[in-house]
C-alpha cells in the first residue's frame, strides 16, 4: 500500500477524480452497449422467423423488443456522447498529442453510429406504414453498422494497448503516421472478436433471462418459450466460441503486453514453471496471500509447456508498472470474468444436450434459475473484461509512450470532484428511470396478455410504451377509438 501512496503523491491532484469519472461513465455506458450492438440482430432474427412462418407471436416479440431497443438506444446515445466530451475534458493531453495517430478509428465509429441511428429510426418507426418485406430489409444492415461502430472503438482502444504506426521526431512528437498500421495493431484482432462475441452473448442471455424469470413463475406459454429460446440459443452457440477467443486474447496479451499479463496473473519475478493463482492478493513486497495456487499452470497456459518463461512485474521499474493494488484489481477482474465464462459454458452445454439429444427444453428449475442470472452475470463479465484491459495497462494511457498523469487535464481537482458528483447523480437518475420504464413496460404487457388470455376486453390503451398512444390532442381531435378491436386504434393521429 505504501508504494501506492508514494506513487500517487507525485501525481497531480486532478488525476484521481478524472480517473474515477472516466471509469464511472465508461462502466455505465458499457451496460447499454451489448443491447445496442446485438439486440438489433436478435430482434431481426425473431422478426425473420415471424415473417417466414407467418407467426404473430414472433412478430409481437420483435415489436416489443424494438420498443425496448428504442428507449435504451436513446440513453446509449447520450452516454456515448458524454464519453467523447470526456476525451477533451479529462484527457486533453492524450488527444492533443496522439489524436492524429489513432483518432481516425473514432471517425469510422462516428459514421457507423450515424448509419446505425438512421437505420434504427427507420426500423422502429417503420412497423406500421412500410411494407413488411421492405421494413425487414431496411433493418437488415443494422447489425453490420453496429459491427462497424465496434470496429472503430476497438481499433482505438487496441492502439492504446499496442501503439504503432508513427515515428517520434526529436521533440517527441509523433510524425509520419501510417494509418493502416495504427488501426490494425497487434491487439486489434483479438480484442475485436472477443468484444463482438461478448456483446452478442450478453444481449442474448439478458433478453432470455427476462423470459426465464417468467418461466420460473409459471408462465409457460408459447410466447415465453419463443422469447427464451431464440436469444438463448444464439448466446449458447457463441459461448464456447468465446472461450476459445478469450484464451487466444490472453495469449496475445502475454506476447504483446508482458507486464499487463504479469499483473493479471500476479507474476512477480520473470521465471519458468510459474504457478497460476486463482484470486489471491499481491503485496508490495511481491508476496501473495490467499487464493488457490495451481503449480506450473500459468506457464502451461501461456506457452503450452511448464518450461515457458513468463515475464514478471519486476522486469520493469516500479513506476512503469501497475501497483500491487492495481495488479490485484486486474487479477480479480480477470479471474471473475473467467469464472463467469466457465459457468456460462456449463449452462450452454446443459442447454445444448437437452436440445440436441432430447429435443426439448431442460425441465429443471435450476437450469432456468441459472438462465435468469446469466444476463446479469455476462454484464458483470463484460465490466470485468474492461477493468482487466484498462487497469492492467496502468500507469500508461498509451502503452509505454504516455502516462495518464501526462494526459490529464489541468483543471482544478475541485471542479472535477464536483463534476463527478453531478454526473453520478444524473446517471443514477437516468439509469433508475430507464430501469423503471422498462419494468413498467414489461408489467403492462404482462397484464395485457393475462387479460387477453382470459378473454376480457382490454379497455383504453394506456400510455405505457415509448410510442403511444399519442397523447390525446385536446381540441380538434376525433373521438378516440377504443383500441379493442383487432385493428389498430387510430390513436391520436388527428
Amino acid at each position: 500500500m505504501h508504494t501506492t501512496v508514494t506513487l500517487l503523491a507525485g501525481a497531480p491532484a486532478q488525476l484521481l477524480p478524472a480517473r474515477e469519472l472516466m471509469a464511472f461513465t465508461l462502466a455505465s455506458h458499457i451496460i447499454l452497449v451489448p443491447l445496442g450492438v446485438a439486440l438489433p440482430l436478435i430482434t431481426l432474427v425473431m422478426h425473420y422467423r415471424g415473417l417466414r412462418r407467418n407467426d404473430p407471436v414472433a412478430l409481437l416479440l420483435a415489436r416489443r423488443w424494438s420498443a425496448v431497443m428504442a428507449v435504451q438506444f436513446a440513453v446509449g446515445v447520450v452516454t456515448g456522447t458524454v464519453l467523447s466530451f470526456e476525451f477533451g475534458l479529462l484527457w486533453p493531453g492524450l488527444m492533443g498529442k496522439w489524436g492524429g495517430v489513432f483518432g481516425i478509428g473514432f471517425g469510422v465509429e462516428a459514421w457507423a453510429f450515424f448509419l446505425e441511428a438512421v437505420l434504427i429510426a427507420i426500423y422502429l418507426y417503420g412497423w406500421r406504414r412500410l411494407k413488411p418485406r421492405t421494413h425487414f430489409l431496411l433493418g437488415l444492415p443494422l447489425p453490420a453498422a453496429a459491427l462497424l461502430g465496434a470496429f472503430g472503438i476497438l481499433a482505438a482502444n487496441a492502439w492504446m494497448n499496442t501503439p504503432q504506426g508513427f515515428t517520434l521526431d526529436a521533440g517527441g512528437k509523433p510524425v509520419d503516421v501510417h494509418i493502416w498500421s495504427a488501426i490494425f495493431t497487434p491487439m486489434f484482432g483479438p480484442q475485436y472478436w472477443h468484444f463482438v462475441v461478448a456483446m452478442l452473448i450478453t444481449a442474448g442471455y439478458t433478453v432470455a433471462g427476462v423470459y426465464a424469470v417468467g418461466w420460473l413463475r409459471g408462465r409457460r406459454d408459447r410466447y415465453h418459450r419463443l422469447g427464451f429460446t431464440v436469444p438463448f440459443t444464439l448466446a449458447a452457440v457463441f459461448t464456447p466460441v468465446q472461450f476459445l477467443l478469450g484464451d487466444s486474447i490472453a495469449r496475445s496479451v502475454f506476447h504483446k503486453q508482458a507486464v499487463k499479463f504479469a499483473a493479471t496473473e500476479l507474476v512477480w519475478r520473470t521465471d519458468t514453471h510459474v504457478p497460476e493463482y486463482v484470486f489471491g492478493r499481491l503485496h508490495p513486497d511481491g508476496s501473495i496471500s490467499g487464493g488457490i495456487k495451481i503449480p506450473q499452470f500459468d506457464s502451461i497456459l501461456a506457452g503450452f509447456t511448464p518450461g515457458t518463461k513468463v515475464t514478471g512485474l519486476t522486469s520493469v521499474p516500479a513506476d512503469d508498472r501497475p501497483t500491487a493494488t492495481q495488479a490485484t484489481i486486474a487479477h480479480w477482474a480477470f479471474d471473475t470474468m473467467v469464472v463467469i465464462g466457465s459457468l456460462l459454458i456449463l449452462l450452454a452445454l446443459w442447454y445444448g444436450w437437452c436440445r440436441l439429444r432430447q429435443h426439448r427444453l431442460p425441465t429443471s428449475p435450476w437450469f432456468f434459475r441459472g438462465a435468469a442470472c446469466a444476463g446479469v452475470a455476462s454484464v458483470v463479465a463484460v465490466e470485468c473484461g474492461w477493468i482487466t484491459a484498462e487497469v492492467g495497462r496502468q500507469p500508461w494511457i498509451v502503452y509505454r509512450h504516455m502516462r495518464i498523469a501526462e494526459a490529464v487535464t489541468a483543471t482544478r481537482s475541485t471542479s472535477l470532484w464536483i463534476m463527478l458528483g453531478l454526473v453520478v447523480v444524473v446517471y443514477v437518475f437516468i439509469f433508475g428511470s430507464l430501469l423503471a420504464v422498462l419494468l413498467k413496460m414489461r408489467t403492462n404487457w404482462r397484464l395485457d396478455d393475462a387479460r387477453r388470455a382470459v378473454g376480457e376486453r382490454t379497455g383504453e390503451p394506456e400510455a405505457d410504451t415509448p410510442y403511444g398512444p399519442r397523447a390525446r390532442v385536446p381540441a380538434g381531435d376525433p373521438p378516440p377509438d377504443g383500441g379493442t378491436g383487432p385493428g389498430p386504434a387510430k390513436d391520436g393521429r388527428p
Binding site: P56, G103, A463, P488
Partner: protein
Amino acid sequence: MIADVIAVVLLLAVAAYACAGGTDYGAGFWDLTAGGARRGARPRWLIDHAMAPVWEVNNVWLVFVFVIMWTGFPALFQTVFSAMWLPLALAAIGLVLRGAGFALRKPIRRIAGRRLYGAVFALSSLLTPFFLGAAVGGIASGRAVPGTEASAHAWANPTSILFGLIAIVATAFLGAVFLAGDAARYGAPDLVGYFRRRALGSVVALAVLAAVMLTVTRSDAPHVWHGLTHGVGLGLVILAGVCSLATGWLLLRRSGVWSRVTAVGVVAAAVIAWGAAQRPYLIPTSLTVAEGAGDPGSLRWTGLVTLVAVVLVCPAVAFLYWLDTHGELEPLSDTDLRRTEPARDDPTELN
C-alpha cells in the same frame, strides 16, 4: 492544402450540427415556453412527434465534429477543451439530461412525472446551446490561446454571452419554422399559426442580436469583425440576411417547404460566415490552420473516411428525412404491442 480542405469539412460539420441539432434544441425551447400542462399539451404533443424519429441522428453530428477536431487538428481540440472546460462540461451534462428527459418522458403516465422529465428536457435544451455558443464565442474572440488553462475570462465575456444568446435564438427560430411545417403535415392548422407567429418573432429577435453582435465584436473580437465586414464573410452575412428576409416572407405566404430551406440557409450561412471570418486562423491570431494541422497522413485519411461516409450516410439521412416528411414513420402504438395482428395486415384500417 489538405489541412484547408479538412478545416472546411470541420466547418461544414459544425454547420450541419447547428442546423440539425439546432432544430432539435429549438423544439425543446418551444416545449419550455408552451405553458402549463393543459395549455401546452397540444404543442408538446406535436414536438414529441416531430422530434422522435430524428433526434438521435441530429445529435450524432456533434460527435463527428469532435472526431474531426482531434484527428485533424489535435492542438485545437486540446486548446478548446482546456480553455473552455466549464461551458463544455456543462454542455455535456445538459446533453445527457436533455436526451434522457426526452426519451423517458413519453413512457411516463403520471402528469407529475411527465412534468419533471419534460422540464429537465426543456431546460437543458436552453442551456446546452447557450454553453456551446459561449465556447464558440470564446474561440472567435481569440481568448482560447493555446496553453490557456480553464478560466472564466475565456467564456464569460461579451462575445461569448452574445454568441450563447444567438445560439438559443437561432435554435428557437429553426425549431419554430420546422414545427410549423410539421403542424401542417399532422393536420393541426391551429398549431401552424402558433408556430408561424413564433418563427416570425424569432427572426426579428435574431436580426436584433445580429446587429448587436456586429457592434460588440468590433472591439471585443476585431479579427472576426473584420472578416465579417469584408470579402467572403460579408457576402455570407448578406446571404444570411437575405435568407432570413425570405423566410419571413415565405412564412407570411404560408409556404411550408421553402421556408425550411431558407431557415436552414440562415443558420448555415451564419456559421460558415464565422468560419470564413476566422481565416487563416483556427483560433484568431494565435493558431492558424497550418499550425494546428495534424499529420498530413492522418488528414488525408480523415478526408477519405469523410468521403466514404458521405457516400454511405448522406443517402441514408436523406432517406430518413424523406420517410419522415412523407408520414411513413409512425410510432408503434399500444395496440401494436398487444396480442393482435400487426396493423398493416389490414390496409383499410390506416387512413
